[in-house]
């Protein structure tokens, strides 16, 4: 049994608009048999935080192309993306690049 973990989630670049305009979220993921990874976090976000138009955030089982993900301020492409095993107090940032510049 993995203990519950707390995370700091941040949405920016326009992605916050899908979360009632709230950029910063301190969340606690409940205890479960498997350790939490990014894939499960995305499902949890979809079920618990997303307020509208989930297809603008999640496509298939990953984030929509054009949304950048940083784990502890590093590109998630360097961290194993969906397979990254989340640690207590991790900081996960989602930045949309799909908004006007």
């Amino acid at each position: 049994m993995a203990a519950p973990i707390s995370l700091h989630l941040e949405f920016g670049g326009g992605a916050e608009l899908l979360f009632d305009g709230v950029k910063n979220h301190h969340v606690t993921l409940p205890s479960q048999s498997e350790p939490w990874n990014m894939k499960q976090l995305l499902l949890w976000i979809k079920g618990n935080l997303l307020k509208e138009r989930p297809e603008l955030f999640i496509q298939g089982d990953t984030v929509r192309p054009g949304i950048l993900v940083l784990i502890n301020d590093a590109d998630w492409e360097l961290m194993g993306e969906m397979d990254y095993r989340l640690q207590h107090q991790d900081n996960v940032v989602f930045i949309s690049t799909l908004h006007g510049g």
């Binding site: 920016g12 326009g14 990874n37 192309p65 360097l78 194993g80 095993r85 930045i95 006007g100």
Partner: protein, 350 residues
């Protein structure tokens, strides 16, 4: 993907300095870089773009089209850095257009005003209201939400030029990035717009007559621009325009992002294709002339902005939408249109 099984928390070393931990994987090259190496690589690549295309000459006054969004904020920051680092000798000015969109442009202009302080650059704001006598809010009230982006796009292009002329600017730089250029190539291809397809990849346009425009970020990926702004903690504004997005561009954009996620080089590949298309000699191209009313470049007797404006002022907003070139002589002579001509040009009933 990691061959070592489930993702480890072991940091990936920077493939350039080998010392610090990498913070991003570059889409263009696949390299993993740490923050300082990324900043340096990003800035120096923009410098390479500027130097190899000889975009500027010492002593020039350069207007940076500043919307408060990520691209123009990064452009202003990087140009300021490079101007000092490489001694370009440029006089940089921020140039903004106020379209008159409440809840959108008024907020983003606040960002530009902060940028002015942060970068210590002069700022000039020109508004649709002062140039045309119409704000976008007023235009939308008359034309509705159907062709409003046409008005805004045509007016913005001229507004930037007119602002630049007021300031005696030699060149205008815009924040168009590699993703934007690739989108435009794709859109022009899909629309069969040969003239624009040929022009849209040029790094500098409009050297004859109009003030030249250039795109120093033409080869910079959006991902890198956003991460540059994020790691540098640059202050930018990111909200969609309240008058709904450009749907056609949105499709091209989503399609390219999907391609990029499978093959990151897709963006530069599309630009490369656009740059290397050659147009058959017997394809007829529109001849660029000047507008008989305002003197702006135009391929018709009247430029698009003048026709759109005339339509607004006559209460016939569809005058500038679609092709009504036959009417230009009448408009120039300030003659009334027939009832039949007018009927087609009125706003639709809502």
């Amino acid at each position: 993907c990691s061959a070592a099984g489930p993702a480890s928390t072991m940091p990936v070393p920077c493939s350039h300095c080998q010392k610090s931990s990498a913070v991003l994987r570059r889409p263009k090259t696949g390299h993993s870089l740490c923050r300082p190496c990324f900043f340096w690589a990003f800035e120096e690549e923009v410098h390479q773009t500027i130097a190899s295309a000889r975009l500027f000459r010492p002593g020039e006054t350069v207007g940076i089209g500043a919307s408060g969004g990520k691209d123009s904020t990064v452009l202003a920051h990087v140009l300021k850095v490079l101007n000092e680092r490489h001694g370009y000798g440029l006089n940089l000015i921020l140039l903004s257009v106020d379209e008159g969109i409440t809840g959108y442009r008024d907020d983003s202009l606040e960002t530009v005003k902060r940028n002015q302080q942060q970068y210590d650059l002069p700022l000039k704001i020109v508004s649709y209201e002062e140039l045309y006598g119409w704000t976008m809010d007023a235009i939308v009230k008359q034309v509705g939400l159907k062709n409003n982006c046409t008005f805004c796009g045509v007016f913005r292009r001229q507004a930037l030029d007119r602002g630049a002329m007021m300031l005696g600017v030699d060149k205008i730089c815009t924040g168009h990035n590699a993703d934007d250029v690739a989108e435009t190539v794709l859109m022009n291809f899909l629309r069969g717009d040969i003239a624009r397809l040929r022009r849209c990849t040029a790094i500098t346009t409009g050297s004859e007559g109009a003030i030249p425009r250039c795109k120093p970020l033409k080869y910079a990926y959006e991902k890198e621009i956003v991460l540059y702004a994020y790691f540098k903690k640059l202050d930018y504004f990111s909200t969609e325009c309240v008058y709904s997005p450009n749907a056609y561009r949105g499709h091209a954009r989503a399609f390219l992002k999907d391609l990029e996620s499978v093959r990151p080089s897709a963006i530069v590949d599309v630009i490369h294709s656009g740059e290397n298309l050659s147009v058959k000699e017997d394809v007829r191209m529109p001849v660029q002339g000047t507008c008989a009313r305002c003197g702006y470049i135009s391929s018709q007797r009247l430029c698009k902005a003048c026709v759109l404006l005339e339509g607004l002022n006559r209460g016939l907003p569809k005058l500038g939408i679609g092709k009504h070139h036959r009417l230009h002589e009448k408009l120039l002579a300030r003659q009334p249109l027939t009832e039949q001509e007018e009927r087609k040009l009125r706003a639709e009933e809502f």
